[in-house]
């Protein structure tokens, strides 16, 4: 990963690549930057049906608030509607989902990678079929039993469902990752008298973090962005951020509330920025060690 051969490129090629990257980053980031800018305007400007340049100049923002920018959206979302509560719930859901998913997934993935029997293939294929099940159908099937057993509405229910839905992907990622950790490592530990679980705990856990962190990032994104499960299985006081944002939009959009949603979306992206900056090295080394060679 040092200054490698691939980095030594001719100048024109370098220019083409950088040019392409700049175009891509503009394309990728433009809607978000537009949203960031617009979150400080009023709805009539940001969602103008008359002229899109209103979103830039903000004539209604001026007449309604007196300034070119307004923090009303943020105030409405965070102060009036207590968006931080949803943020707290999201934190609980995300941390639990990632932890449980990875615990289940590492155990299962390790076993699948080390078993060597044919049934492993079938377990993986069945997991794949499980992943093909549309989430809408799954969630609507949960409703009646969950209501019946009084499980509906609580955070743990949504957490375990997200974990289960996420297991197939986690298993696939982690299996291919564990396949790349040399078998000699844990087998020599077992020759030294460790049980299988001790070998896993003492030898494998210390070297598995890169792959686990990458898989964790995808679990994190799934739990963070999920709408299908959280919107249907959580009651109002346990709402996470995305259903809360949906409730700002409401069934019929109420004036001003749309901007709460826009501001909330911008706010919800900030922690992801910190996360990506913090974990970017691990993301890379993680996938490196895992799925890549799978």
């Amino acid at each position: 990963m040092t200054a490698n051969v691939a980095d030594r490129r001719s100048l024109p090629l370098q220019a083409v690549l950088v040019g392409f990257l700049i175009v891509w980053i503009i394309v990728a980031a433009f809607p978000f930057l537009w949203t960031l800018w617009g979150s400080f305007k009023v709805e009539g400007d940001f969602f103008s049906k008359a002229d899109w340049t209103n979103a830039l100049t903000g004539p209604m923002t001026r007449t309604e608030t007196g300034g070119a920018f307004t923090g009303r959206g943020y105030q409405g979302a965070w102060v009036t509607n207590e968006f931080w509560r949803a943020g707290l719930n999201t934190l609980i859901v995300v941390v639990s989902v990632v932890t449980i998913s990875l615990t289940f997934g590492t155990l299962g993935g390790y076993a699948l990678a080390r078993s060597g029997y044919r049934y492993v293939f079938w377990v993986l294929i069945v997991a794949l079929v499980f992943r093909a099940m549309p989430h809408v159908t799954l969630v609507s099937g949960y409703l009646l039993p969950f209501f019946q057993w009084n499980l509906w509405g609580h955070l743990p229910t949504a957490i375990i469902v997200l974990v289960a839905i996420n297991q197939p992907f986690t298993l696939w990622m982690l299996t291919s990752f564990f396949q790349n950790i040399p078998k000699d490592l844990d087998e020599s530990a077992m020759v030294d008298g460790c049980s299988r679980f001790q070998a896993f705990r003492l030898v494998i856990i210390p070297v598995m973090w890169p792959g686990v962190i990458t898989t964790g990032l995808f679990s994190f994104l799934l739990a963070y962005n999920d709408f299908a499960v959280t919107a249907m299985l959580l009651n109002q006081e346990n709402q996470t951020m995305v259903p809360k944002i949906a409730s700002f939009l409401g069934t019929t959009q109420t004036k001003g509330n749309v901007m709460f949603a826009v501001s909330a979306v911008v706010s919800a992206t900030a922690p992801l920025f910190l996360l990506v900056m913090f974990f970017q090295r691990q993301i890379v080394s993680g996938l490196t060690a895992g799925a890549v060679k799978g």
Partner: protein, 342 residues
Amino acid sequence: MKHKTFLWFILPSALAMLLFIAMPIVSVLLQSVFAPHEQVIREVENCDVFGCKKSTIVDVEATAALREAAPMGRFVGTAIYTDRNHLALSEIGTIWSSATGAADFFKQVLNLPFYGALTFTLTYTALVTPLAILLGFSIALAVNAIPRFLRGPAIFFSLLPMIVTPLVGALILFWMVDARGILGVAIQSLVGDPDLSVKASTPMMWSMLIVYGVWSTAPFAFVVYYAGLQTVPQDTLESAMIDGATRWQRLRFVIIPHLLPLTTFLLLIKIMDNFRVFEPIVSFNAGAHAQSLSYFIYADLSATNRLLSSAAATSVLTILGVVVLLSPVIVHTWKSFGRTAS
């Protein structure tokens, strides 16, 4: 590994999947062959705030008695799978015998909801999967070529399409591509047609959904490939250079083969996800121009419809569709598994 040890290790994961995925799949299978009971209908007088009129209602007691007699519902076998809103076998038979030619036959078949949706879904999958993977690969190559300190922000901005919640992301994009939105106006001036509206025609709507699909799923391929590029064995590259391989030859014969397993993984995940395309259709209000199987499930489960058996049948057909599409990849995995397992 011993079977027993294997079992203990896999147990938590398997239990979660059995409870929350396998059992629902079983109940969905049952639901797709058991329709609701015959409804006993009674004519009554309904008075709402606007007046009274004759209407019908379901006779709750009589229907409850039927339900008591057969709690699973009415066994209909594959009738729902083959009815007009799904595979429409008898309708296809009729069209086959009455159609005036091949063009007429296909036109009429595509008018059937299932086949119309299948056309869009397959087009979408066939275009978005390779394009997103290719775009992700190119971004990965480009990010790999820039100075290290710029890579963090570049990764973050490249990930944005994937991490902004589609709920609002699509709402904003929907407004941007409006005929008077910033992107809509840009497209109009590019094409030179001031009346062009992306949302008004079927081809434009399809293109927009496909572009959105590529845009929003390329980041996933990018992350995977970018990581993959870090593991390209440097010594192989260097020896290839010493042997006089051009840049293109190194890419073609060293880097791409190295990334092949990753590509398989991406294909598997992306084909599956694209075949189940759903969110963009709802977010862009595109239901008039493009439908997918998942969109039908969503519509069947809507409050106005509540066609649970129909939704169940479409779900089973979706799973079967995914299995068929993925079968080449699965066979490939089976072969490579045979190699590693031995």
